[in-house]
Amino acid sequence: MVQVLDPLLIVALALNFVALGVSRIRGVINAVALQGILLGILPLFVHPDIGLRGILLVVVAIGLKGFAIPAFLVHAMREANIQHEVKPVVNYMSSLLLGAVGTGLAMVFSSTLPLAEEHTGLLIVPASLSTVWTGFLMLTTRQKAIMQVLGYLLLENGIFVFGLLLLEAMPFLVEIGVLLDLFTGVFVMGIIIHHISREFASISTEHLTELKE
Amino acid sequence: MSELFVLLGIVLAATSGIPGLLMGRSCMTGQWVTTLLAVLGAGVGLAGVGIFWTGAASQPIVLPWPIPGAEFSVALDGLSAIFLLPIFLVSLLGSIYGLAYWKQTEHQENGRKLRLFYGTLTAGMAMLVIARNSILFLFGWEIMALSAFFLVTTEDDKQDVREAGWIYLVATHMATLCLFALFGLLRAANGSFALTPLAEGSLTSGTATAVFVLSLVAFGFKAGIMPLHVWLPGAHSMAPSHVSAILSGVILKMGIYGLARITSLMPSLPLEWGEIVLILGVISGVLGVAFAVGQHDLKRLLAYHSIENIGIIVMGLGLAMIGRSLGRPAWIVLGLGGSLLHVWNHALFKSLLFLSAGSVIHGTHTREIDHLGGLAKRMPWTALGFLVGAVAICGLPPLNGFVSEFLIYLGLFETLGIGKEPSFAGAAFAAPALALIGALAVACFVKVYGAVFLGTARSDHARHAHESPRAMLGPIAVLVACCLLIGLAPLLVTPIIGKGVSAWAAGLKDASPQLSNLAPFEWITFMGLVLIGALLATSALLWLRLHTSVVQKGSTWGCGYVAPTPRMQYTSSAFAQMLVGLFSWALRPHVHAPKGMPMFPQKTDFHSEVPDPVLDEVVMPVFRFGGSLFSWFRVFQQGSIQAYLFYIFIALIGLLLWR
């Protein structure tokens, strides 16, 4: 079980770096979608006998994170007519290196946490912390609103992974909460993007500073 | 016996310049006599070192000295002998080089001064290396520092030279100050000024840390470890080339010698010290070569490469220190062995590069890389010497740079915990850093060699270049031979390096056989010969094929453009642009570029340079601030006698009241 878990988490971590380093928005959407699918099937490996309710949840999570939300974002992208991120606040090389530093620190930090017996050797906590860090990095350093939404998605993915630890204690409570949160958030963001695009004829968020007066 | 020879060599070298002072300034006789004496002195010194290595035991010489606490105590051991060889060899070759490069008849004002201080420099360095008493060490150190100052400011009629000299002087005296404090602490721990190993527990942990920090600062200044390197680029580029060779190839190693000697005296080394030294080595190595990539002054570039190689040497030393803290003999042998061998190798190929650069400057009268080009056709022997030096400094087989870097790599890989040995894996990450340093060095030297010697001449300087006389090419050839020798036959130097390692790590008696076991030098020799043989065979086959087929000459393909000019070639700054961009967070290049193009293009220019950010943005502002603070005290310096008498009166009253 552990043998499959670690490689999947490694792929999820690698997808973090893909999201940080790629400038094509479509590429980042694909990476986040793939990460969502991967994380969606993880509960099947952590808790072998989860029952029908569990399987239903896995299907909903994959459907939402891997297909519905990315399709929605692609639609928003077409509507706003953009393909690439403009120069981010921190350039790609630096964001890649910052992501790497964050992942390293997450690994060091997680080895100091008082985890339960069966969770200490796994990569779940480091993967979750570094995905949260990556999402936060994207949220704060990218200028296009869609990229910020993707950063928010990565953040939620990270929390989702952390919730896997609590699977036996509170089955799927965290997961359901995260999914609802995600759905609402993306819905609201979609509306906002539509309005920004209509108002300013672009979805670069630097224009939003004009609203301060 | 060997000590006597070395002392005789020191005396000869020190006095070699004096006859030249007495003879006239417009004839060459003085120079010939001085060179003869210098060569004789260096030869005698080398003979002494050779005697030591053929198995003679060390016979310390102790003479009384009227200075309190000091005694004239000298001895040769494995560590000292290793550092003596570059001192005498480079000095010998430099003196011969100077016969043609700095002819008395062409440099009447400063030629005799240069040769005088060249001799005293050699003497001072040899003295400090064999000294076994702190006061004697400081004596040799100061002679070395001051001689180097006078050598750097040989052409003191030029403003740049004077500035570089001042910065050097400040740096070296800060080092000396730290050394005073250091030896004071050691005396408190040891009870005397003798440089002997300290007993267990004679140093409290606070004192030990102070000793470590002081020696790191003092010897770091002298060796040019970042960020204490600020004096290096200026001093090495403004000095005459054979002086730069000894500055870069030998004086920097005196800092390494000091670090090695002090750490060998310590009873035990905490792990953090080795880690700090390793990290400093990695930083100096990577940033040193990154800075070198951005330079366009030939000698400044070579100076930054010295910082890189000192970084590599310090990495090896750090690894050995970690090995001693954790009790791993393999790491000590490989780390310190690689470090000491790199001391030799760097002395050899850096002197080779500086002497070749001097030959270029002699032939073209300019140091600016972007004004040169195509020199390989007009100065073929210099080009060949520089190529060998470039391949050696990049650490490429079959030359000597590869052998020492090979040892350090093996040592770093060992820290992963090969076999059942426990690991200290953090050190292993220095191995990819060393690979990065090597690749950057290749980039830099392809740039230099290509821009200076290949392509077509970019200016009149280069178009009218002439090859150098034999007195200059001779030392270059000797150094080429040495590089090849160590690269192809490293087994010859294994016993010597082993003796040096045993001298450093007191508990390690059988370093040489361990070194032979851990490092497969026979294979390196074999592969080196295979490489050279295959190259010669393939070249012969190609030559045969070309001779039996049609060969035409034409001009370089320029995509159909029929009037190419030399200015269309890639310049050195263009070559380095991408790398400088990648490292711009550290290099902070100054770029003067045209801002936007007007409708009708006009004449404009582009200029970029990479100054030293530590010097310009840290050291200078600090010193300026200090200067403005101290200017408040100027109010006391009235210049009137009455005021000064008044100060004396106040001081007297103060003394009377105090008692």
Partner: protein, 305 residues
């Protein structure tokens, strides 16, 4: 005796198979483009043709220009002798031979770039500048991967690192080895000037790296360069195939075909990558190489955690 036969087969396979890899890549790309493409043996025909042609040398060049192809070929050929192809045996093997491998390729790079600068043309200068810059970022990625292999196998010889027990390591430390494999694949693409780093087919001076460095070579010297490039591809490819397929059945008549099959599959994979991706913008290439370094770095961090 057995060793002599093994070494002979090793050398023969290396020397004859390498141009075939180029042919397979070209055929794969043609397949994706809906063409028939050049015959599989085209590189061999090219080599023979070039050896029979005359040469044109520029008057600007010196002996360094003629030495460049020679050094590139010889260093790649000696590097081939250091790699274990099957059954964890290489003709030449000693402690630390992997460092010699990396630095031999560095020597080849030094002389190829110098030969490019020897022509005094800005095109070659451009290519040489890019080549040495990207090599700076590819070398650390390679060495980080070597750290992983050294830690797992406990050996500093290539034959030991890529030895028989690699199969066992895949099951215990599969994640690290997968990261190293991916990172080394990126390094292969970078060092051999394949898409996404360089397009070997455009011959547009502004977009090439390797092709533009050898723009001025002609005749037999150019043939040496072509063959040297094929051998270099073989070297990197063999490392990856050994890492991915560490099978050692013990029957050499089975091992060699498996290895050759693996090499051809790798060539097809390179062809697929070249057909499905576009060349990266020049400013994005360092980002990809740093990502490869980070992958390897995480491979070793996972092991020493």
């Amino acid at each position: 005796m057995d060793a002599a036969i093994h070494n002979t087969i090793h050398v023969l396979v290396a020397l004859t198979l390498s141009p075939l890899l180029l042919g397979v890549i070209a055929k794969t790309k043609a397949f994706f483009a809906g063409r028939i493409g050049p015959p599989l043996l085209q590189p061999y025909y090219d080599l023979v043709k070039l050896l029979r042609k005359g040469s044109v040398f520029s008057t600007t060049t010196t002996w360094v220009f003629r030495a460049g192809p020679v050094v590139a070929l010889v260093t790649a050929a000696i590097a081939v002798l250091l790699i274990p192809l099957v059954s964890a045996r290489a003709p030449i093997s000693f402690t630390g031979d992997v460092i010699l491998l990396a630095y031999l390729l560095g020597l080849g790079r030094f002389f190829t770039a110098s030969a490019a600068l020897d022509t005094g043309s800005s095109f070659e200068g451009m290519g040489a500048a890019r080549e040495v810059t990207f090599a700076c970022l590819a070398e650390p990625a390679f060495f980080l991967g070597l750290l992983v292999l050294a830690k797992l196998s406990g050996s500093l010889q290539l034959a030991g690192m890529l030895g028989g027990s690699l199969g066992v390591y895949w099951s215990t430390a599969g994640a690290s080895l997968a990261l190293v494999l991916l990172s080394w694949f990126v390094v292969l693409l970078a060092e051999n000037s394949r898409i996404p780093f360089d397009d070997p087919n455009t011959h547009l001076e502004l977009t090439m790296i390797h092709e533009v460095m050898v723009l001025d070579h002609s005749g037999p010297a150019f043939g040496l360069i072509l063959y040297g490039a094929a051998l270099k591809l073989f070297v990197f490819g063999a490392l990856i195939v050994r890492l991915a397929l560490p099978v050692s059945t013990g029957f050499s008549w089975l091992d060699w075909p498996i290895f050759i099959g693996g090499m051809l599959a790798l060539a097809v994979a390179i062809g697929v990558v070249e057909s499905t991706m576009a060349r990266l913008r020049l400013t994005h290439i360092p980002v990809l190489l740093v990502a490869a370094c980070l992958l390897s770095a995480f491979g070793i961090i996972l092991l020493v955690r």
